[in-house]
């Protein structure tokens, strides 16, 4: 039972990450490879504030979100001057800078040794310790993020992002400011990505930089490319497929080392085939350009 609940917690964490990336990739049409950086910043902010300052969860969560939003705002000002490959390269650059900093700033982050003993959240003295309790907690966080994204997707802001994505010059003639709207999207996306970071750090109670690599960012982008983007169904389909598939492969009886590589090969082939025959992904509304 705990195994299924663990998978559900991971589905919730990656669901929130996919929703955060969806705002940029699906609505804005900007392929980002930096989502794991914001995810990591959220995780480290929570771990350090909880352990070093002893702050409670209801302070550390907003602080992590605020840090994600601030860094997203700063990075957005630099990266959103670019489009297409240059934007992808800028996000890869940012992702690598965050990773190298987390890995090498050992005085603060303990580098490759990671941070252990991260406290689980507690409310009014009641700690969320067991896996079922954590599953419910993740479910609540996921529902809040989904509700927030639902509101965003139905707002004029999402419509303006779609307009910019489809034809930036035409959207500008309708008085839509690309810089302002894209920076807002980046801030929302980064802030939301910090939430699963907090969730991950407090669930596993140990973090190190290897959880927030470029490979992780590519995996998050793949979730959207396989599942689809530009609506709320696509990211959910992608998360279900990409998280449940490796678990199903466990039951085939392959050795662990082979299964990991085989899973990646299946992702890679799917990526090529889907982008060719079904560019909108399994349930998406937007075909990446």
């Amino acid at each position: 039972m705990n195994y299924l609940l663990h998978i559900s917690v991971m589905l919730g964490i990656y669901g929130m990450l996919a929703l955060s990336a969806n705002l940029l990739i699906g609505f804005g049409g900007l392929l980002t490879m930096a989502q794991a950086a914001f995810y990591g910043l959220g995780a480290y902010a929570y771990a350090l504030l909880s352990l070093k300052l002893g702050l409670p969860f209801f302070v550390t969560l907003p602080a992590a979100i605020a840090l994600g939003a601030l860094v997203g705002w700063l990075f957005g000002h630099a990266a959103l001057r670019f489009r297409n490959e240059a934007f992808v390269l800028a996000t890869i650059g940012f992702q690598m800078i965050v990773y190298v900093t987390l890995y090498n700033w050992t005085d603060l982050t303990r580098g490759p040794y990671g941070i252990s003993g991260i406290p689980r959240p507690s409310f009014f003295g009641i700690g969320i310790e067991s896996v079922p309790a954590y599953f419910l907690f993740t479910l609540v966080l996921f529902a809040v993020v989904l509700g927030f994204m639902h509101l965003v997707c139905r707002s004029p802001f999402a419509l303006s992002l779609k307009a910019l994505r489809d034809d930036e010059a035409a959207a500008q003639t309708l008085a839509i400011c690309p810089k302002g709207q894209y920076i807002r999207a980046m801030v929302f996306s980064a802030a939301v990505a910090a939430v699963p970071g907090v969730c991950f750090a407090s669930y596993i109670t140990y973090i190190d930089p290897t959880s927030f690599t470029l490979t992780e960012s590519i995996f998050i982008a793949c979730i959207l490319l396989v599942g689809g983007s530009g609506n709320l169904k696509g990211p959910m389909a992608g998360v279900a497929f990409m998280i449940i598939l490796p678990e199903l492969l466990r039951f085939v009886g392959l050795p662990d080392a082979v299964a990991a590589n085989l899973r990646e090969i299946i992702y890679g082939v799917l990526l090529i085939v889907l982008i060719y025959i079904k560019p909108k992904g399994l349930a998406g509304a937007y075909a990446i350009k």
Partner: protein, 276 residues
């Protein structure tokens, strides 16, 4: 320099961020390992075998992946994602075949020479002179060769090439093969020096692409200059701080250049219409 040149050729001619070049690099490393260590071929034969396998592999990527997407009229973003798929598949196929651990080609201590207070190993000297030499030879071909001018034109308006009677598909194959040869030479030199594992491709891809964007995407010599400057900056960071911070310097430089000189240090400014 060689990796940057290989990446630059494909990027400049196809206008595609050729992520699969990371896979080509890993493939070439292991092809060299197969020829030199497992089959125990003489060095010259192992080098020729690796080059041949790398060209075939590059052609296979073009035939099986890039050409169908090109003929379907897909955008560069779509091809980039397919390229990412190729990278993931190849990297993991190699891991399945050879294992995830580091493989080395030479286990012996390299002879070294001292020059002006600096000590260089034989393979480091070979890397430097082969890199410069091959880059210069290709540079001369780019400057004077008719086909290379056509490759440059392909990057601007590929649809005009058939109108001028030039074989577009063969030229695409030429670009991929040339990229394959350049990256294979770089891969052999690296594999001989420090060995390989199936996941090194992305690291070298990022270094090569940063060098191209750092120098400027539209000039061949700028790719080499970008690679040289980047190497010097990395070495300075290693000398002054620590080897741990070299990646920070690389990507810091990338962000800096993208922000303040998007056309690259030696690139040419373009009008908005040209840049599209």
């Amino acid at each position: 320099m060689l990796y940057a040149a290989g990446f630059g050729f494909v990027y400049r001619s196809f206008r595609v961020f050729h992520i699969a070049m990371g896979a080509q690099f890993v493939f070439s490393c292991y092809a060299f390992y197969l020829c030199a260590t497992m089959l125990k071929l003489p060095l010259a034969l192992a080098v020729c075998g690796t080059l041949a396998l790398s060209v075939l592999f590059a052609a296979a990527i073009e035939w099986a992946v890039y050409r169908p997407f090109f003929q379907k009229g897909c955008s560069s973003g779509v091809v980039m994602i397919a390229s990412l798929g190729v990278m993931i598949v190849v990297e993991n196929l190699i891991a399945l075949a050879f294992g995830n651990e580091v493989k080395t080609i030479s286990n012996q201590l390299e002879p070294s020479v001292a020059f002006a207070g600096l000590r260089f190993t034989r393979i480091q000297l070979l890397q430097f002179f082969v890199g410069i030499g091959v880059f210069a030879v290709v540079g001369v071909a780019v400057r004077f060769g008719k086909w290379f001018k056509a490759l440059w034109a392909m990057g601007d308006q590929p649809e005009l090439l058939p109108v001028l009677g030039l074989p577009l598909m063969r030229l695409r194959l030429l670009v991929m093969s040339l990229g394959g040869i350049l990256v294979a030479i770089a891969a052999m030199l690296v594999a001989w020096d420090i060995g390989m594992d199936p996941h090194v491709g992305m690291h070298y891809l990022l270094l090569g692409s940063v060098a191209v964007f750092f120098g400027g995407t539209d000039r061949y010599w700028a790719w080499g200059a970008g690679a040289m400057l980047l190497s010097v900056l990395q070495s300075l960071a290693m000398w002054q701080f620590s080897a741990r911070w070299t990646d920070l310097v690389t990507f810091g430089v990338l962000i800096f250049v993208l922000l303040f000189r998007p056309q690259g240090l030696f690139g040419v400014s373009k009008r908005l219409e040209e840049a599209k």
